[in-house]
Amino acid sequence: MIKAEHLFKVFGARSDRAMALLEEGHSKQEILAQTQCTVAVRGVSFAISPGELFVIMGLSGSGKSTVIRLLNRLIEPTSGTVRVQGRDIGKLTDQELRELRNQKLSMVFQHFAIFPHRTVRENVGYGLHVRSVQESVLEERTEWALDSVGLGGWGEARPSELSGGMKQRVGLARALATDAEVMLMDEPFSALDPLIRRDMQDLLIRLHRDLGRTIVFVTHDLNEAMRIGERIMLMKDGELVQLGTGAEILSCPADDYVSNFIADVDRARVLVARDLMLMPPAIARVHDDAGEVLERLESSGADASYVLEQGRVVGVTSRKLLDPAVRAGATKLDYDLINTEFRATGPDTLLIALCPLVNAQRYPLAIVDGERRLLGTVSSEAVLEAIANRASEGEHVCPGSRSEPMSRTS
């Protein structure tokens, strides 16, 4: 959908000189001192798939707001290309660019940017007004957009009559009304109260699910990024630091900067069972040789093992059950050696919901799919470690030091 390659943006009169210094590997501060140019974006590449909710995250001065403006050329890149649906937007004429912005890319702003001299309806219909659509179509679309954001009936109101949250709903409706496939959102909820912000996040998640638009969302709030983002691009000093899902960033931070950054995140609401589960050290099947199962358990150091029948989890057996039975001459792992009362949950269960489950039984929690096939297990130790803010080292496989930004294509 959107593909950005090697984007650079240098603000200032001597950007050529600054670019040359950049290529020599000088830092942002050195370049500022030598050329009075500010390096806002430095060699950023990424690709956004259709329908994705892509979050660009960073502190102020990290270049995130510049990056989102490079995507619709509100800011011209110093070098690098942006493709929207395969078209290099740097090569468009002014007229083509205006059409692209009007039809494919809509935008929502941090301070709402609602025109105070126009009614709510005129604001929401602005993109269509620019497109010169028929009055009846415009009315129908704006009405639909206002309903979608919960502002039905507010069309004739003046922006000055609205609260901040309502103004941003108008901003959202204005972006929805044009039917643009991509919505660019520049810190849209930063200026709102925390409670309103949460409502707006829920609204956005719902709209994204219902309408399937591609959303590029800029924020400086990591919790917000984790809450709504499917993939998150972390930026620092104009550079891409890490790109991945929230769980990937939490469990495999690319460097110390990211580690420090994520220290404050409420991991219990981000990590899910899938992120914590491990392959069980031992697995048994119904009618296996009881002695062999016991040996496997002893050699792997595990106390218990889930028992499968035709691939599905049916119960759990443990050394405590097997040991006396094998001594008493049992040969087959039959149902009298299997405890069929065990807890299982799906892979998308949030960490916060896992806590009571893992503590309800002595052996690890089974993570199963819809057909009760065993995907892995989560131990109470893993849950504790995750909450205690440490990735269980060595057990999770972190792919390289950075995830590959070009792994997905549009």
Binding site: R101, M107, V130
Partner: protein, 274 residues
């Protein structure tokens, strides 16, 4: 220090343009005369009392009752001085000069807001214009257009241009960049953005500029009495030259009344458009 004859160069330039531009100057002169006489005719067509009532109604429309009552009484007072015709002549010159000043100044202000080069070039020129003594404007005006009404209008218009340019530029530059960005992000054409977003949002500042233009025009019109323009300027100038204290005071008072009326009415325009 060698003598640098800037004055002589300017004189040469003025002489040259007088010869080359004769036809154009005549056309301008005719157009201004026609324009001013038309406005004058309109203002003087109804009897004084009716016109005073109309002006009071205008004040009532944009302002509170008090201003309207003041307007009615003050203009009737002017009529009792026997200065009604002179006051309306002056008002006509002020209105025409204002239209010319805004017609030239506002586009220049819009252009300055869009181009840094223009802005940087125009600014010292405006500074220069505003520091130049008002009388100096009369010299080229008289040279090009002789004495009488036309040089008065031209000198007044030129003198009143700077606030139109400055406050138009300022108003447009003050518009929240996010608003302009939003219009851009939805694919609006730059001129559409100017028309639909920047100018409407700049309007209060632009109207403050219009107010300034009118007040400057009024101040210049009195000075323009020196070059033989009719109206209150002429009244005041002749009173001064004859040491006629009574006539001078009444003429001055009429100017003040006109000034208060114009200021209150145009200041209100900017506020009511918020």
């Amino acid at each position: 220090m060698p003598r640098i004859k800037i004055g002589a160069y300017v004189e040469d330039f003025v002489n040259w343009s007088y010869q080359e531009l004769g036809a154009i100057l005549d056309a301008i002169s005719d157009a201004v005369t026609m324009f001013v006489s038309g406005v004058e005719w309109l203002l003087l067509a109804p009897p004084a009392i009716v016109m005073a009532a109309i002006l009071a109604a205008v004040a009532l429309l944009v302002r509170r009752k008090g201003v309207a009552v003041f307007t009615l009484l003050a203009f009737l007072l002017v009529d009792s001085f026997g200065l009604w015709v002179a006051t309306m002549e002056t008002l006509a010159v002020v209105l025409v000069s204002t239209v010319i000043a805004i017609g030239l100044g506002m586009p220049l202000g819009v252009w300055s807001s869009r181009s840094k080069t223009v802005s940087v070039t125009v600014r010292p020129l405006l500074d220069f214009m505003q520091t130049l003594p008002a009388y100096v404007y009369l010299i080229p005006a008289v040279f090009f257009f002789g004495v009488g009404l036309v040089p008065a209008v031209i000198a007044t218009a030129v003198f009143a241009i700077p606030p139109a340019v400055r406050l138009t530029e300022l108003g447009i530059r003050q518009v929240d960049t996010e608003m302009v960005e939003a219009a851009n992000a939805f694919g609006a054409h730059p001129w559409q953005i100017m028309r639909e977003v920047q100018l409407p949002l700049a309007l209060p500042t632009v109207m403050a500029g219009v107010n300034q233009v009118i007040m400057l025009a009024l101040s210049m019109v009195v000075i323009a009495g020196l070059v033989g323009a009719a109206g209150l300027g002429g009244v005041v100038v002749s009173a001064v030259t004859q040491l006629d204290i009574a006539g001078g005071f009444e003429g001055g008072l009429a100017v003040v009344i006109l000034a208060i009326f114009l200021d209150r009415v145009t200041a209100a325009l900017g506020e009511s458009n918020r």
